[in-house]
Symmetry: C2
Subunit: 202 residues, 2 copies
């Protein structure tokens, strides 16, 4: 039976999905709340009963994607917690699959970052969300190094920042030149080398 709560959650999901497409086509600034509602087949009332603003919708998109990713990583842990190299490769694979469409995802996440660089309120909200995501990844890295009897020569938080930087920087290159830079290739080539260089047996 469809409960009001379940209906509300389906509405949110369809709005998020429609927004991702509209943002990719028209850009974060070019896409209006009306465009998003038209695409998802809802009224503006439905939009505003779910999100206070376009900013809030984008942050909800980020949250949904990072939640999914963290769940997928957690599912790998029981088998791979003591094999950091294999786990890192698996996590890098998940990073490329966490968003249903890497191009759409890159467009909106990069555009919102630029928006944040011009609007302190958006920056505060984005930074808070990114910090929570990094903290959860950092805890995973700490758990894994403990389980594998490894010690890192850099703060795990810094290693997580590097993984994110390489992933975001490499994604731009992969999207610009997909034939020359297959998705994930720079990450898979270099990040295991870094992990190895900063890890030692305790």
């Amino acid at each position: 039976m469809e409960t009001p709560k379940r209906r509300r959650s389906a509405t949110r999901a369809r709005l998020l999905e429609g927004a991702l497409e509209v943002f990719a086509e028209r850009g974060f600034h070019g896409a209006s709340v009306e465009d998003i509602c038209d695409r998802a087949g809802f009224t503006r009332g439905a939009f505003y009963s779910n999100f206070a603003s376009k900013d809030e919708l984008v942050l909800a998109l980020f949250q949904a994607t990072t939640d999914r990713l963290l769940e997928q990583i957690a599912a790998l842990l029981p088998d791979l917690a003591n094999q950091p190299g294999t786990l890192l490769d698996a996590v890098l694979g998940l990073l490329d699959e966490a968003a249903p469409d890497q191009r759409q995802w890159h467009l909106i996440s990069t555009e919102f970052t630029l928006h944040a660089l011009r609007h302190p309120e958006a920056a505060a909200a984005l930074n808070l969300q990114r910090a929570m995501f990094r903290d959860q990844l950092t805890r995973l890295v700490e758990e894994i190094t403990r389980a594998s009897g490894l010690q890192m020569s850099v703060p795990p938080q810094q290693f997580v920042r590097l993984v994110i930087a390489v992933h975001e920087g490499a994604r731009a290159q992969s999207l610009l030149e997909p034939d020359l830079v297959p998705a994930g290739s720079l990450e898979h080539t270099f990040l295991p080398l870094v992990l190895d260089a900063v890890s030692s047996r305790t």
Copy 2:
């Protein structure tokens, strides 16, 4: 004495400088040719006698910045060609100084990359320019490894791609959280480790 050629070059320089400011304020799409001319104190005629379009102006901005960077790197070579680690640190420092204002530079270069992801013609022009820049950096890496008697376990071109990916990805983090991620900190922490991991004495 001011020659027509020198005057033309000064006009270009002022247009480029004005454009960088206007792009940072209004975005690549929000800034019109008129806005750029107003800022630089020229007519639209002056603009179009120097650039066919906004796209062409942005590519000229990129070219000027990468030319300056390559010149600065070349100036370091005589002293540091056989000290790859020191040279890498120096080059990373130059990357942060090549543009007069990192925030403005990040905004326009990222926005133009997004524009290219939506417009194949812009992508072709941008890719060509980025390829030339990478090729010149790759030749430098080859020269340095030769001079230092080193061999790399990855193609030098891949290492150059990684440096660019880390730099571009880390710059977004530095601009969002300048207190937590000082400019260049991720690059200086991790890239020398990578260089070391992929280099061996011949």
